[in-house]
Amino acid sequence: MISIHQLYKTYHRGTESVEAVSGIDLEIIKGEFMVILGPSGGGKSTLLNLIGGIDHPTAGTITMNGFALDTASEESLTRFRRDHIGFVFQFYNLLSSLNAVENVSMPLMAKGIAFKQAKAKAVQILTRIGLENRLHHRPSELSGGEQQRVAIARSIISEPELILADEPTGDLDSLNAQAIIALMHELNKQMGLTFVVATHNLRLAENADRVIELRDGKIQPNHIDKTK
């Protein structure tokens, strides 16, 4: 599904160069739950940004279902993300002026679907993940766990093939973190969604199909692979 070949990303800060991702080769299989572990600054978020077409690589190729993310224009990457990729962030990234239903409806509205139809689907998804009593609450009126569940609902509403989650439990207490982990695994199993999750949380890795460790921008050899 995703093929990454000799991927590099170098940042320049003044005269200093930092190689955040350094020669990564990786294949991501449709329907798998992959966890990327590693210390802060190891390149996890950078790799996720490159896979999601949010950032451009310095060198190397990334293709998803034949679409070359490394050479695509900004606007075609936007359309590609809209149609194929869902995102979950550590700090939820919900729009503060909108309620839960409206936040979840956004990806469908980006596709040009009228709010009325988008809202119906958003209500359905929020109900499915247990937020039927929080539909019209704004982010400031929701707990961290609830906000992250809204963010997950937003990531799956347009039925993408891939969900990229960057530290999805990083801002949650252990109880809420456990619930979010369970929800992501449930969506992976029931909907067949592919998950790539960057995290420090080892509990996320427990039921993952594959765990890789990223250190200094390189994949370490001691990874776990249950897909084989």
Binding site: F87, F89, L95, E102
Partner: protein, 382 residues
């Protein structure tokens, strides 16, 4: 090329729904933006009304065959002083071109607390003097009678039958008149009454030469000025040129008003630019997030245009309401010297102003395009 798909067009009602929600969530800041833009709109509407009043005021005077003689180097006719001899001389220079001549006494006076023009002409010349037309009542047919211009009657609330005290003497208003310079507040009496009232020591101020219909006014004027008996002490104008010279300062005010209208519209542009720029800076994170989840720049730009449109419409409505109340409640009449300018908020200037305000507001949004394009998805990926 991507195939056209009608579903990629977000419904306008949805866009405005989210714009209004966004503005409401911004609370006081949205309100202050609307109020500050409304202040500019009030400025625009009042200036537009003033400019319109100047347009009416500076309308070209009707072209007549009359020539006017005044003392040399005179701008204000009141400064002129003529005697019968100059009219006689003019008749002698071009006897076959001038049908007849008559004197006009011209004064600026304070009447009922307002500065007015008082003019005295022979009764039989009133219809020909400066294309005067009787629109109500009758011409003076007895002693101590005057006709008044529409502007003066409106300003001073005079009607036919009103008694007006001029220079210590009471006069009866017998009619309302309109002339090509109807913006002037003027009262007209017979020449005999004028002489009785003001005396004869300063003669009269303007000599009016009525030409035969076949005469070329400019040729006659040049012929008169070629004669040293005229050119030494007098100036000769085509009647409309004289009026237009008098109105030149008003024309300058019209230009100034027009420039100030433009400045107020530019203020709308920069007001929207500032509001939009501030919004973009503060929401770079949210905009980045929207880019991450798939909103193309065109949709975000459309949202900003819709936001500017709502702000402008709200500000314009508020500004228009304030201007309407101010102009109509006060029945605003600006008096410049003895010229009355009636401010009116017309449908034309209101809608034209709205169109321009929206256009200039969109220009303000357009100026922020570069800043929006600079907000890439990485801003929302943190």
């Amino acid at each position: 090329m991507e195939k056209f798909n009608p579903t990629t067009l977000t419904k306008l009602s949805d866009v405005f729904r989210f714009v209004i929600k966004d503005l409401i969530s911004d609370g006081w800041r949205s309100l202050l933006t609307i109020i500050s833009l409304a202040v500019v709109v009030v400025g625009y509407l009042l200036l537009a009304s003033l400019a319109q009043a100047f347009v009416i005021l500076t309308r070209q005077a009707q072209v007549t065959n009359n020539l006017l003689i005044v003392s040399a180097n005179t701008i204000d006719p009141m400064d002129s002083s003529l005697g019968d001899a100059v009219l006689q001389t003019a008749m002698e220079i071009t006897p076959d071109q001038i049908q007849h001549a008559f004197p006009i006494i011209f004064r600026h006076l304070t009447i009922d607390g307002r500065i007015m023009q008082v003019r005295a002409v022979p009764l039989e010349e009133m219809p020909t003097a400066l294309a005067l037309t009787l629109i109500q009542g009758y011409w003076p047919d007895g002693p101590r009678q005057v006709v008044v211009s529409e502007g003066a009657a409106q300003q001073a609330s005079w009607k036919i039958g009103s008694i007006v005290n001029i220079y210590g003497t009471n006069f009866l208003v017998t009619g309302l008149v309109r002339s090509t310079e109807n913006a002037f507040g003027s009262l007209w009496m017979t020449y005999t009454e004028g002489q009785d009232l003001f005396g004869t020591s300063h003669g009269f101020q303007v000599g009016c030469l009525v030409l035969v219909s076949t005469a070329n006014p400019e040729s006659v004027r040049l012929k008169l000025l070629a004669d040293p008996r005229i050119s030494a002490d007098y100036s000769v104008y085509l009647e409309n040129v004289f009026t237009n010279d008098y109105n030149q300062s008003n024309t300058n005010l019209l230009i100034l008003s027009g420039l100030m209208v433009l400045v107020s519209l530019l203020a709308i542009t920069f007001g929207i630019y500032n509001a939009t720029s501030l919004s973009l800076t503060e929401r770079s994170f949210e905009i980045g997030t929207l880019r991450v989840i798939g909103f193309p720049l065109s949709k975000l730009r459309g949202f900003l245009f819709a936001r500017a449109l709502v702000l402008t419409l709200a500000a314009y409505s508020l500004g228009w309401l304030v201007s309407f109340i101010f102009i109509n409640h006060q029945r605003t009449q600006a008096s410049v010297d003895l010229i009355f300018l009636t401010l009116r908020l017309t449908a034309y200037s209101s809608f034209f102003g709205l169109g321009l305000a929206v256009l200039f507001a969109f220009l303000g949004v357009w100026l922020t395009s570069g800043r929006l394009a600079g907000l890439n998805p990485l801003n929302g990926s943190k």
